[in-house]
Amino acid sequence: MHTMLQQWALYLPDYLKGVGMTLELTGAALLVALVFGFILALARLSKIRVLDWAATGYVEIIRAIPVLILLFICYYSLAQAGLKLSGPVAAIVGLGGFYAALYGEIFRGAILGVDRGQREAAEALGMPRSVAMRKVILPQAFFAILPPATNQLSNLIKDTSLVFTIAVADIMFQANSALSQNFLPLDMLLLAGVIYFLFYLILSKFLARWELNVQRRRS
Amino acid sequence: MSNDVVVSARNMTKRFGNTLVFKDVSLDVHKSEVVAIVGPSGAGKSTFIRCINRLHPFDEGTLELLGHRLTGGKAKVPRAVLQDIHTRVGMVFQTFNLFPHLTVIENIMLAPMEVKKMPRAEARERAMALLEMVGLPHKRDIYPKRLSGGEQQRVAICRALAMEPEIMLFDEPTSMLDPELVGEVLGAIQRLAREGMTMLLVTHEMAFAKEVADTVVIMADHEIAEMGPACEVLESPKTERAQQFLSRVLKPEQAADDFVAARTASQGGDR
C-alpha cells in the first residue's frame, strides 16, 4: 500500500499531462460530434431523399464498426492513402465521427419525440417550418437530449482511452509507459482507474442531479 | 336484502407518509348489496376500496371480511389469508390492466388454472360462457391492444368473474372510457347487480349509482360525508358537504356561476 502511494506520487505529474490530453481530445471530439451529429439529424429528417439515405447509411455503418478500427483507419489507412493525420487529429476525427452517429440519433429521437400537436399548433399559427423548429421544437427537444447526451459523453471519455494505440499521450498512454518502467502494472493501472472513475462520477452523479433540478424547475 | 354482513369496516384510516388519504371510515356491506361510493377527486375513494382487498395496507381501524379480521398498522397479514381474500374478492380497475401479452381468453383462463388448478378445457369453457355474457365471444383470440376501451373493460370484468368471487370491487370502471362506450360497461355491471352480486363501486356516474346502488356513500375531504339509501342521499342530502358536492356534479351550470361569483368576489368586485 505504502509503495503503491509512493509510485502514484512519483508518476502523478505524467498522469496529469495525460489528463490534459484526454480532456482536450474529449472536448474537441465532442464538438465535432455535436455539430456533425446535428447535421446528420437534420439530414435524416429532411424531405430530400438522398440526404436522408446518405445520413442513414452513415449512421448505420459507423455505429456497427468498433471504435478501435475507426481509429486505425483514420491514423494508418488514411496515411497509406496519402492523407497523413497526426495522432491527436486522427483521434478527434475517429471519435468525433463515431459519436456524431450516436448524437445524431439522440437529436433525431428528441426532435421526433416532441408532441405532434406542438408542430400542428405552430403550423396553425402560420409559422414557417424553420421558425417552428427554432422556437417551438428545439427548446422542448433540448431537455429530452440532456440525459442521453451526458451518458454518451461519459462513454466518449472512456473511449478516448483507446488513443494510446495510435501513439497519443493520454492517461492510458501514461499508465502504460509508467508500468513499463517500474513493472508495477496493477498499481499504475489502478491510478488510471481512479482518475477515470472520478470523471465518471462527476458526469453521472453531478450532471444527473443538475438535470433533475432543471427538469423539476420546468415541470 | 339479506342481513349477513360480508364487509365491515370500522374506523379505517389510511395515510401515505404524512398525507392523509381517508380517516375514520366505517361501513357495512351486506350480502347482495350494491354500494356506490361517490365524491370529488382526491377524497380517498379508490384507495379505500384497494384497502378492502388489501392491495394497500391501512393504518388504523379494523376490517372484517369473509370471516377474516384484519387490523390496521404494520402487522403482516398471513399469506394464506391474503390469498383467500384475493381469490374471493374480484377487482376491476380504472385502467383495465389486462395482461397485454395474453389473448382475451388467456387473460380470463389464467387465474382459474393457476390458482384453482382448474383443467384447461373447463377453464376455457367457462371463459367462453363469460365472454358470451358480455357479448364478446368473437374476440377471444385477440390481444387486448386491439380492443376498444369498453371491450377491454368488459373482458376485465370477465377475468375477475372467472374466479367466481363473492364480492366485486369496481374502481371507477368507466372513467377512462369515451362517453359512447360507458353504456356497455355499465350494462354488464347492472346485470351482475341484478344477479345478486355483492358490489362496491367507486364511480362518477351519478345517474347509474342512483339506479343500481342500494346504498350510496359520499366521500369528501378524506371522510364519509353522508351515507344511506341511494335515492335519499342523492335526492335530499342532509349534510352541507354532500349538498355542495351534489349541486356541483348535478348542476354544472350552477357550479360555473358559483365559480364566476367566487372569482369576482376574490378580485374585490370593484369593477
Partner: protein, 214 residues
C-alpha cells in the same frame, strides 16, 4: 488489392474466434446477470449495495483498462491468465455489469398495474413473476440485449492487445508484414460490420415475434 485477399482465410478464422467468444460470454453474462439483477432488486441490503457498486465500477472504467487490469495487473500479484482466459473473464465481468442494468430496467418497465391486477386475482408472487412480469419484461429487454451483444462483439477488438489471435490481431500482423494498412483495416471493419448487422437482424426478428401483441 490482392494482398488483402491473402488474408481472407486468417480473417475468417479470427472472426470465428470472435464470434465464439461473443456467444459464450453473452450466455454467461446473461445467466450471471439475471442472478445479479435478482440480488440487486430483492436481495439483502448489503448485497444490493455491493452489486450496485460493481455495476458502477464496470460502467465507470474504460473497457481497455479493465482488460489490462485482469491481464497485466493481476500478474503483479501473482495471478497469471492466458490471453484466452483473460479475454473470457473480462468479457463476462464486463457483460454482467451491463446485463444487470438491462434486466433491472426491463423488470421495472412492467407497469405496476400488472402486478396489482395479478395480485387481485390471487396469483402468487412467483406465478406473477413467471406468467405476467417476466414475459413482458423480456420484450422490453430485447432491443437493449441486441445492442449488448453487438457491444460485446466490438469489445473483442481490444483482445489483440493482450495477444489473443482474432481478426484485429491478424490485421495488425498483416499490416506489419505488408504495410497495406488501407485494405487490411478496412477489411477488418467490414468483417465487424457484417457480423454486427447479422446480430441486429436476428435481434429485430426476435423482437417482432415476441412483440406480436403490442
Amino acid at each position: 488489392m490482392h494482398v488483402a485477399l491473402h488474408y481472407l482465410g486468417v480473417y475468417g478464422v479470427g472472426a470465428l474466434k470472435d464470434i465464439a467468444l461473443t456467444i459464450v460470454s453473452t450466455i454467461l453474462s446473461i445467466i450471471l446477470g439475471v442472478l445479479a439483477a435478482a440480488g440487486r432488486l430483492y436481495g439483502p441490503k448489503a448485497l444490493q449495495i455491493a452489486i450496485a457498486w460493481y455495476v458502477e465500477i464496470i460502467r465507470g472504467l474504460p473497457a481497455i483498462l479493465q482488460l489490462f487490469i485482469i491481464y497485466f495487473g493481476f500478474d503483479q500479484i501473482g495471478i497469471h491468465f492466458s490471453p484466452l482466459m483473460a479475454a473470457l473473464i473480462w468479457l463476462v465481468a464486463y457483460g454482467v455489469g451491463y446485463a444487470v442494468e438491462i434486466f433491472r430496467a426491463g423488470l421495472m418497465d412492467v407497469a405496476q398495474g400488472q402486478r396489482e391486477a395479478s395480485a387481485a386475482l390471487g396469483l402468487s408472487p412467483s406465478t406473477t413473476m413467471r406468467k405476467i412480469v417476466f414475459p413482458q419484461a423480456l420484450v422490453a429487454m430485447l432491443p437493449p440485449l441486441t445492442s449488448f451483444v453487438v457491444l460485446q462483439l466490438k469489445n473483442t477488438t481490444l483482445l489483440y492487445l493482450v495477444g489473443f489471435a482474432d481478426v484485429m490481431y491478424e490485421a495488425r500482423l498483416g499490416v506489419d508484414a505488408t504495410n497495406q494498412a488501407g485494405p487490411l483495416y478496412v477489411m477488418a471493419a467490414v468483417v465487424y460490420l457484417i457480423i454486427s448487422l447479422v446480430i441486429g437482424r436476428i435481434g429485430m426478428r426476435m423482437e417482432r415475434r415476441a412483440a406480436a401483441y403490442r
